[in-house]
């Protein structure tokens, strides 16, 4: 098998991401998919650091640093300004972490999605406020250690896909850098759709997940294979499509090897692990029900 990703490179090395950063790779692949005619809107997140200190930048496209809660509204504004200038061929890409999406930026994102403003919103989700010191966010999974949940987080992860799908936006998808072909296909597909497009990408943070850097890609692949982070697309809030179905099954062994490789899950007891496995299996069934719901829509 050989990947057929675009050769064009729209990012520079020398950026400040930690070794093995999944978020850095996500940006690299996204810019490969979207090309030079892209403007990035960046609220506070890891990428504010990764992009380098003033006056340096790691990307070859315009990138606008903005306040934590404003990715949605600034993207709406930039797109409106581009429309006024008649620059119709420029893609606006809001690039936010899980904190800026699940927590702080949710209102602005929801409002923009409700207006169906024309931009792509990518949430690269590393499941905590990593660059400020690994504080928990509402994307941190149940049972995970963080510096603000020193034993374990007691609340489940917020389901951001359900929230965005409920806005009936034209396109929402989950994506993973462990599947570069699928990741790039989804961004290219999003590029060709008008309206608010949302992509939720789980990326590994070796620093915050407390794992060795070389397993970064392997872990997010395991997340997909084990059913923890299934890859799927939702069109117009209704039509669900499961990607890579042959690769996915909520598998006890795979889930355990995913959890076992990460220091942030080191505190889990056997009972906790069983609960996580059961939760993943029921979430998986819920997703399958939604996919089967497609049949009812067709009738």
């Amino acid at each position: 098998m050989k990947f057929t990703i675009p050769q064009e490179e729209n990012m520079h090395p020398g950026h400040l991401a930690c070794p093995g950063c999944g978020g850095a790779l996500a940006m690299r692949l996204a810019l490969k998919a979207l090309g030079k005619k892209t403007m990035v809107v960046l609220p506070a997140c890891c990428w504010s650091i990764i992009n380098g200190p003033f006056p340096y930048s790691a990307v070859k496209v315009p990138l606008f640093h903005t306040a934590f809660e404003t990715a949605g509204s600034v993207s709406s504004g930039i797109k409106a300004a581009l429309d006024i200038l008649g620059k119709k061929d420029i893609t606006v890409l809001a690039w936010a972490g899980d904190g800026g999406t699940f927590d702080i930026g949710l209102q602005a994102l929801s409002a923009a999605a409700e207006r169906n403003d024309d931009f792509i919103y990518v949430c690269y989700d590393n499941e905590a406020y990593m660059n400020t010191g690994i504080q928990r966010s509402s994307a941190t999974p149940w049972g995970a250690w963080s510096s603000t949940t020193p034993a374990a987080k007691e609340e489940p992860k917020k389901n951001i896909m359900d929230i965005m799908v409920a806005h009936r936006i034209p396109y929402a998808a989950t994506a993973s850098v462990s599947y570069p072909d699928d990741f790039i296909r989804k961004l290219k597909r999003a590029k060709d759709i008008k309206g608010t497009r949302f992509i939720h990408a789980l990326v590994c943070c070796p620093t915050g997940w407390k794992c060795s850097s070389e397993i970064s890609i392997k872990l997010t692949r395991l997340a997909v294979q084990s059913g923890i982070f299934p890859l799927y697309e939702v069109e117009n809030g209704l039509k669900y499509t499961l990607n890579k179905p042959q690769q996915i099954s909520p598998d006890n062994k795979l889930i355990r090897s995913y959890l076992g490789a990460q220091g942030r899950f080191a505190n889990l007891s056997e009972k906790d692990t069983k609960k996580i496995v059961a939760d993943i299996k029921s979430e998986w069934l819920r997703l399958l029900n939604k996919i089967e719901g497609n049949i009812c829509i067709k009738q």
């Binding site: 090395p13 790691a58 392997k218």
Partner: protein, 547 residues
């Protein structure tokens, strides 16, 4: 100083992060390295299997593949047919689904070489050295070829009128057609190798004289002396040794056998004889003292014999041949049971007292193994030294079945190759390493996430109905599309085949592609190791940085 209104509305970056050489963060450095694939490692003649499959995958041409393959083995068409393919047994793909069908790929390359008349480009002969080779079997011919590749001309002495040793005397044509054998031999002879056939050393030519004349001799006489059956009645004319029987068949002569033929043994000769008997329209019964699991014959042949519904009597040893009116009427056998494993790991058969039984046969073909006959060497005889090729005689080397006892064709070819190497070292008084001894790649080293499950493409095969009446070749080999499909299954263990994974997954854009090769940009590589783990074939290693 600029006025406030002269400044842009906000700060704008003007430079790239290229200033920041993040390579200084690194504790470990990834390096491209090629490791030994298990198939190459397992091949007794040292074929670069992964490499020629890769040539086919990259569509660099069949000639290039043939050239590479024949660098190590001048008999690809023969080995593609009769080799026991240890390469396939060690193939990492067998831990995933099924091993690559290497021998059929090899056969295709070999056949193309013959059909297209591919030629070697060999160096000019250095007339200074005279080398004699005794025996024109696979070991002798392989040695002659490998010497020729190094610029030496050799003279082969063969006792028979036909060249090829066991290849042309002992393997029936439904497994190995004679025109293939002779064509591959002719190619070696044509590359300027001298031949004296019908010249047995000891009879027509004295060994001492040979040694005086040539100074350097390679003995590759094989193992032809049939072991004696040693039971009452074994001297009867209807007891035909397997090699003798196969020799007559290969020579195209008719051999008189009865209706029910008992074949004693479980090796390749036994099965060759049994399947030949079947093709002559008679009934073969194979009698073997252990079970199917311990049979030394190659697995493919056991399976084919079973497909052809050859009758087996396992756990039975012959005791006595019963002769009435000067005709064999039956073979008395005793039942065996399996005891403890011996040094070779095979369980030893133990006779069960009083369990005698009779098998009704009128001809018996013993195939219980062969021995080496070194009676032509006068006086004290040959002692083979530790490296299995050199001997206690100065300038005399020995190899193949003659040294190891009956082994396989490819072992003999490998021995010939090794002998050529050591003869070269001896003549030039240099010491060159025989081969690298690194650890081959094992299945656990691979990242199988990038491999899809695909079934092995079987070789074309004659249908059972049409193969039992003739000596026509059973296997038909591949067509080109099948070849392509099977080659694409290769994992390319330990050797980069440009899959792009390291390039795709690098978060730091530190993998550059230059002229079809990958290079790490150590100015920026942070040493995260993602490429090392995501390389499906373990062709990247991680080395600690020295500080």
């Amino acid at each position: 100083m600029k006025q406030v209104f002269q400044l842009p509305p906000w700060a704008i970056s003007t430079e790239s992060t290229l200033y920041n050489k993040t390579g200084s963060w690194r504790n470990y450095r990834p390096v491209y390295r090629n490791r030994i694939p298990p198939c190459n490692n397992a091949c007794p003649s040292g074929e670069k299997i992964q490499q020629y499959i890769d040539i086919l995958n990259q569509e660099e041409g069949l000639y290039k593949a043939w050239k590479l393959l024949t660098q190590d083995n001048p008999f690809p068409a023969v080995c593609g047919r009769v080799c026991f393919h240890p390469c396939e047994n060690s193939c990492n793909r067998s831990d995933y689904d099924e091993p690559i069908n290497i021998h059929t790929i090899e056969r295709f390359i070999g056949d193309i070489g013959l059909n297209e008349g591919f030629k070697w480009r060999l160096p000019r002969v250095n007339k200074k050295y005279k080398i004699a080779i005794i025996g024109a079997g696979p070991a002798g011919l392989s040695c002659a070829y490998h010497l020729r590749r190094r610029g030496y001309q050799s003279t082969i002495f063969e006792a028979d009128n036909k060249l090829g040793g066991l290849l042309s005397q002992g393997i029936p044509s439904y497994r190995l057609p004679q025109d293939i054998v002779q064509a591959e031999i002719a190619r070696i002879i044509k590359s300027d190798v001298k031949i004296h056939s019908n010249t047995a050393i000891g009879n027509e030519y004295d060994f001492d004289k040979l040694l005086k004349e040539y100074k350097t001799v390679f003995i590759a006489i094989g193992a032809h002396k049939e072991k004696k059956l040693g039971i009452p009645g074994a001297e009867h004319p209807s007891v035909i040794p397997a090699l003798e029987f196969l020799y007559q068949l290969c020579a195209g002569k008719r051999v008189k056998i009865g209706q029910r033929v008992g074949i004693i043994g479980g090796g390749n000769s036994a099965l060759d004889a049994a399947r030949s008997v079947l093709r002559l329209g008679k009934k073969p019964i194979v009698i073997y003292r252990r079970t199917e699991n311990e049979m030394p014959a190659i697995l493919d042949e056991i399976q084919e014999a079973k497909e052809e519904q050859i009758e087996f009597v396992f756990l039975a040893a012959p005791e006595r041949i019963i002769i009435r009116n000067n005709k064999i009427v039956s073979l008395e056998c005793i039942k065996m049971k399996l005891g403890q494993a011996d040094k070779t790991g095979r369980r030893q058969p133990i006779p069960i007292k009083g369990s005698d039984f009779k098998v009704g046969v009128d001809t018996i073909i013993p195939a219980i193994g062969e021995e080496v006959d070194t009676s032509f060497i006068p006086g004290s005889f040959l002692k083979v030294l530790d490296d299995t090729v050199s001997t206690n005689y100065e300038g005399v080397f020995a190899g193949g079945d003659a040294v190891t006892g009956p082994k396989t064709v490819v072992d003999a070819i490998g021995a010939g190759k090794k002998a050529a190497h050591l003869i070269h070292c001896y003549l030039r008084q240099v010491c060159l390493p025989v081969g690298a001894s690194e650890k081959p790649v094992v299945f656990e080293d691979l990242n199988t996430a990038y491999f899809e499950h695909e079934t092995r493409i079987p070789s074309g095969k004659l249908p059972l109905s049409s193969r039992l009446k003739t000596f026509a070749e059973v296997y038909q080999g591949y067509e080109k599309p099948q070849l392509k499909q099977e080659c694409s299954r290769c994992f390319s263990c330990g050797v980069c085949n440009k899959c792009d994974n390291c390039f795709v997954f690098c978060p730091d854009m530190s993998v550059n592609k230059r002229a079809g090769k990958y290079e790490f940009d150590y100015d920026y590589c942070k040493g995260c190791g993602v490429c090392v783990l995501e390389c499906p074939r373990n062709a990247i290693g991680l080395v600690q940085e020295e500080r």
